[in-house]
C-alpha cells in the first residue's frame, strides 16, 4: 500500500505530483495556522473567573492581510495550474506524431482497436482486443475515446490520466508512458451495476517490444 500517490508511469505524473505537493505545502501551512491557532486560543482564552473578553469589533488591517494573502496565493496557483492543464488537455495539446489507438467503451468492457502493423488507424489491418490495452513507452499516444451507451471514464492511475468517455462525443486524450510494466485501466465513472468490474489490463512496452507484439497480435486477431 502506498501512503502517497501511485508510481509514476507517464510524463504527466512528474508535474502533477509536484503540483500536488506544492498545494499540499500551501494548504498544509493554512492547515497548521488554523488548527494550531484554534488549539492555542481554546487553551489561552478559556473562561476564567474575573476575566472579561477584549471588546473589539475587528481590525481592518488584519482583515486586509488575511484576505490578500490567500487571494494572491490562489490566483498564482491558478495560473501555474493552467499552464499544465493546457499541456494535458488543452485544445491543441495532442502531439501531431502521437500513436493512435481507438478505445470504445461499453457496458462493461473496453474494446481497444489497434492500428495494426502499418500504424494507421482505419485501415484494413486494424484489429480489436477486449480489455487488453498495450501501449508503447517513450512516445506520445493518443486514444480516441467513444462510448456505446452510458458515460464511462478512462482512468490510468499510474499515468495520472483520466478522461470521461461520453456517448455522442469524440474525445481524444493523450499521454506518453515512461515505464514498461503491467498496469490496470479502470472505469471511473458510474456506468451501471457492472461498473466495478469494467477493468482492462494495461501493458506498457518498449517501442521494439510493442512492434513485435503488434505483429503477433495482429496475426492472432485475424486468424
Amino acid at each position: 500500500m502506498h501512503w502517497w500517490l501511485p508510481a509514476q508511469g507517464s510524463t504527466f505524473a512528474g508535474f502533477i505530483d509536484t503540483l500536488f505537493t506544492v498545494i499540499l505545502i500551501i494548504t498544509g501551512i493554512a492547515f497548521f495556522v488554523v488548527e494550531l491557532g484554534l488549539l492555542w486560543f481554546t487553551f489561552r482564552y478559556r473562561a476564567r473567573p474575573g476575566r472579561r473578553a477584549h471588546y473589539t469589533h475587528g481590525n481592518l488591517k488584519a482583515e486586509v492581510i488575511w484576505t490578500a494573502i490567500p487571494a494572491i496565493t490562489v490566483v498564482a496557483l491558478g495560473i501555474v495550474s493552467n499552464h499544465y492543464w493546457k499541456i494535458i488537455k488543452g485544445r491543441n495539446s495532442v502531439p501531431a506524431d502521437a500513436y493512435q489507438i481507438g478505445v470504445h467503451a461499453k457496458q462493461f468492457e473496453w474494446q481497444i482497436t489497434y492500428p495494426g502493423p502499418d500504424g494507421v488507424l482505419g485501415t484494413a489491418d486494424d484489429f480489436t482486443l477486449r480489455n487488453d490495452l498495450h501501449v508503447p513507452a517513450g512516445r506520445p499516444v493518443v486514444v480516441h475515446l467513444s462510448s456505446e451507451d452510458a458515460i464511462h471514464s478512462f482512468f490510468v492511475p499510474v499515468f495520472r490520466l483520466r478522461q470521461d468517455v461520453v456517448p455522442g462525443m469524440a474525445i481524444n486524450a493523450w499521454f506518453q508512458a515512461t515505464t514498461p510494466g503491467e498496469y490496470e485501466l479502470a472505469c471511473s465513472q458510474l456506468c451501471g451495476l457492472g461498473h466495478y468490474r469494467m477493468r482492462a489490463h494495461l501493458t506498457v512496452m518498449t517501442w521494439d517490444d510493442f512492434q513485435a507484439w503488434m505483429k503477433t497480435a495482429a496475426q492472432g486477431a485475424t486468424s
Partner: protein
C-alpha cells in the same frame, strides 16, 4: 395578534400548524429521521467496502433482489450509494439547515409574529415530507431504488435498459420536483419575511449573521432549485414519454444534464454550508463572549460566496470532455472562492482571540466546525487545480472532501445549533455531559473514518465502486478500507448518544429559562418555548447582535432588545399592534 390566548385544536396546533416554530420542529423530526435513514444506508455501504462479499449481519432480512443471504449485490450497492447521497443532501442536511432553522429562527431573530405567508410555509413542509416519502418509496418498487448516483448522470439515468431501474429512477425525478417546489415556497417566504417583517430598529446591518446567511441561502435556493426541477422534468420525460434531451443517439447531449445539474448543484452545496456558517458565527460570538470579528466583512463574505457560487459549477466537469478553455475559467473562479471562505475562517478565529471562552456543547461543536470545514475546504483547493483533479476526480479524495465539508462542516454546525436552540424549542436543555461525550466521540471517529479516505483517493480508489478488490492496484488498500469501516460503525454508534440525549431531554432535561446561554438575540427575550405569535407587540431593537462584554454594562452581554438610558428610539415606527 394575541400571543397568549390560543384556542386552536390539537390538529391545527401540532399537525397542520401554520406556526413557524411548530413547522420548524416538524422539519426537525422528519429530517432527523431521514438523517438516520441516510446513516443506516452508509453503514451498509461500509460493510460491503470493509468486507466485500461477506454476508452482512442482519442482512438476511433483506429480500433476495438486494442482498441474498445478506450478501450485498452490486445493483443494491449502487442503490445504497445513490440513496445515501440523495437522502443526506436533499432530505437531511438541507431541510435541517433551511427547513428547521430558517423557519424557526428568522421570525424570532428579526422580531416578527410569524412568517409572511404562514400557509405557504405549511405547504412547504408537507410537500417536502411528500418528496421524502416518494424518494423512500424507491426501495419498494419493482427494480428497486434509483441507481445512477445522487448526481443522476444521463444517459445512465435516462435509460432503464442501462441502469436497470425504471420506476426508481422516475421516482427520483418526481421526488426532486416536489422538493424543488417545497424549497421555492420556503424561499419566497424567507425572503419576503426578512425584507418586510423586521422589527423596528432591526436594520440590515443589525441582523444576526445567521439571518443573513439564511436570507442569502434562500436566494440561492430560490434561483437554483427551479433549474433542478426543470432538469428533472426533462429527465423524467426522457424516461417516460420518449423525449431525447439527454440521449446522444437521437441528437441529445449527455453533458447538458451535467451543466444543468451542476449549475444547480454548486449553489446547492453552498445552501448546505452558508446557514451552518451563519449559525456558527452566532454561537462562536456567544461562546467567546466577544463581538463577532469583522461583522461587515462576514456579511460581504457570505454574499461573495453566494455570488461566486454561481460561476464555478464547471469544476465538477473538468474531465467530462467539456471545452478545456471553460475548464481554465472555472478553475480560476473556483480558486477565488477560497478567499471569502478564508475571511470567514480567520474572522471566527479573530472572534475567539482574547475572548473569554465558554466551552458549552454548542461552542465545542462550532469550534469543531471551523476546524473540520477548514480541512474540507483545503482539500477543495486540490480539486480546483485542474491538473490534480485529473487524477483525483471521482476517487475517494472527493468522498473525503464531501464528508469533511458536509459532515465535518454542516453536521457539526447542526449538532451545535440543535443543542443551542433546543432549550428555546422545547423549554429544556440537553444534557451537558452527554453532549460533550457525543462531541468528542464524533470528532474522533469522524476523523478516523474520513481522513484515511484521502489516502485511498490519492492511491486512485474510485467512488461508487462495489468491490475495490477487483483491481490489483487497490488490493493492498483493503486493510485501510476495513479500518475505515470499523471507524464508521463506531461513528454511527456514537450518534446513539445524541439520539438518546435528544429524546431523553425532551422530558427530563434541565428547565431552561428564557435565556440559558446569556445570548443577545431577540428570541431569548421570550419564554421557552415561545407562544404562538411570539410577541404581544414586536420588540424594538437598539443595537447589533454581538454586543458581548460591552463596556456599557456590567454583564458580559447586552441583548438587542435591552434599552439603555442612552438609547434613542429607532426612526422606524413599529407596525401597529392588533
Amino acid at each position: 395578534m394575541s400571543a397568549h390566548h390560543d384556542d386552536r385544536s390539537f390538529i391545527r396546533k401540532y399537525i397542520f400548524s401554520t406556526d413557524h416554530k411548530i413547522i420548524g420542529i416538524q422539519f426537525l423530526f422528519v429530517s432527523l429521521f431521514f438523517l438516520l435513514v441516510g446513516g443506516l444506508l452508509a453503514m451498509q455501504i461500509r460493510w460491503q467496502l470493509g468486507f466485500p462479499g461477506r454476508p452482512m449481519p442482519g442482512g438476511g432480512i433483506l429480500p433476495a433482489t438486494m442482498a441474498p443471504g445478506g450478501v450485498i449485490l452490486p445493483e443494491y450497492y449502487i442503490q445504497l450509494v445513490t440513496m445515501h447521497g440523495t437522502f443526506m443532501v436533499f432530505f437531511a442536511i438541507m431541510p435541517l439547515l433551511v427547513g428547521v432553522f430558517a423557519n424557526y429562527l428568522i421570525p424570532l431573530k428579526i422580531g416578527a409574529h410569524d412568517m409572511a405567508f404562514p400557509t405557504l410555509n405549511m405547504a412547504s413542509f408537507w410537500t417536502a415530507l411528500l418528496a421524502g416519502l416518494i424518494m423512500l418509496a424507491g426501495f419498494f418498487v419493482p427494480d428497486g431504488a434509483p441507481r445512477a448516483g445522487w448526481t443522476s448522470y444521463a444517459p445512465l439515468s435516462a435509460r432503464p435498459d442501462l441502469s436497470g431501474a425504471s420506476y426508481g429512477q422516475m421516482l427520483w425525478c418526481i421526488s426532486l420536483v416536489c422538493l424543488g417546489l417545497s424549497s421555492i415556497l420556503g424561499s419566497v417566504n424567507y425572503i419576503t419575511t426578512v425584507i418586510n417583517l423586521r422589527a423596528p430598529g432591526m436594520t440590515w446591518f443589525r441582523l444576526p449573521l445567521s439571518v443573513w446567511a439564511l436570507f442569502i441561502t434562500a436566494i440561492l435556493g430560490l434561483l437554483a432549485l427551479p433549474v433542478l426541477s426543470g432538469a428533472a422534468i426533462m429527465l423524467l420525460f426522457d424516461q417516460t414519454i420518449g423525449t431525447h434531451f439527454f440521449d446522444p443517439a437521437a441528437g441529445g447531449q449527455a453533458l447538458l444534464w451535467q451543466h444543468l445539474f451542476w449549475f444547480f448543484g454548486h449553489p446547492e452545496v453552498y445552501i448546505l454550508i452558508l446557514p451552518a456558517m451563519g449559525m456558527v458565527s452566532d454561537i462562536v460570538a456567544n461562546g467567546s463572549r466577544k463581538p463577532i470579528f469583522g461583522y461587515h466583512s462576514m456579511v460581504f463574505a457570505i454574499t461573495g460566496i453566494a455570488f461566486l457560487g454561481w460561476i464555478v459549477w464547471g469544476h465538477h466537469m473538468f474531465v467530462s470532455g467539456m471545452n478545456p478553455t471553460l475548464g481554465s475559467t472555472f478553475m480560476v473562479t473556483t480558486m477565488i472562492i477560497a478567499v471569502p471562505s478564508a475571511i470567514k475562517v480567520f474572522n471566527w478565529m479573530g472572534t475567539m482571540w482574547r475572548g473569554n471562552l465558554r466551552f458549552h456543547v454548542p461552542m465545542l461543536n462550532a469550534i469543531g466546525f471551523v476546524a473540520m470545514f477548514t480541512i474540507g475546504g483545503l482539500s477543495g483547493v486540490f480539486m480546483a487545480a485542474t491538473p490534480v483533479d485529473i487524477h483525483i476526480h471521482d476517487t475517494y479524495f472527493i468522498v473525503a472532501h464531501i464528508h469533511y465539508v458536509l459532515f465535518g462542516g454542516s453536521l457539526f454546525a447542526l449538532f451545535g445549533a440543535i443543542t443551542f436552540w433546543y432549550p428555546k424549542m422545547f423549554g429544556r436543555l440537553m444534557n451537558e455531559f452527554w453532549g460533550k461525550v457525543h462531541f468528542w466521540l464524533t470528532m474522533i471517529f469522524f476523523n478516523l473514518t474520513f481522513f484515511p479516505m484521502h489516502i485511498l483517493g490519492m492511491g486512485g480508489e474510485m467512488r461508487r465502486l462495489y468491490d475495490p478488490t477487483q483491481y490489483d492496484f487497490l488490493k493492498p488498500y483493503q486493510p485501510l478500507n476495513t479500518f475505515i469501516s470499523y471507524s464508521a460503525f463506531l461513528l454511527f454508534a456514537s450518534q446513539v448518544v445524541f439520539f438518546v440525549n435528544f429524546l431523553w431531554s425532551l422530558k427530563h432535561g434541565k428547565a431552561a429559562g428564557n435565556n440559558p446561554w446569556e445570548d443577545n438575540g431577540l428570541e431569548w427575550s421570550l419564554p421557552s418555548p415561545p407562544a404562538h405569535g411570539n410577541w404581544e407587540t414586536v420588540p424594538t431593537v437598539y443595537r447589533g447582535p454581538y454586543e458581548y462584554s460591552s463596556p456599557l454594562v456590567k454583564e458580559d452581554y447586552l441583548p438587542q432588545y435591552r434599552k439603555l438610558d442612552t438609547d434613542r428610539e429607532p426612526a422606524m415606527t413599529p407596525v401597529s399592534g392588533h
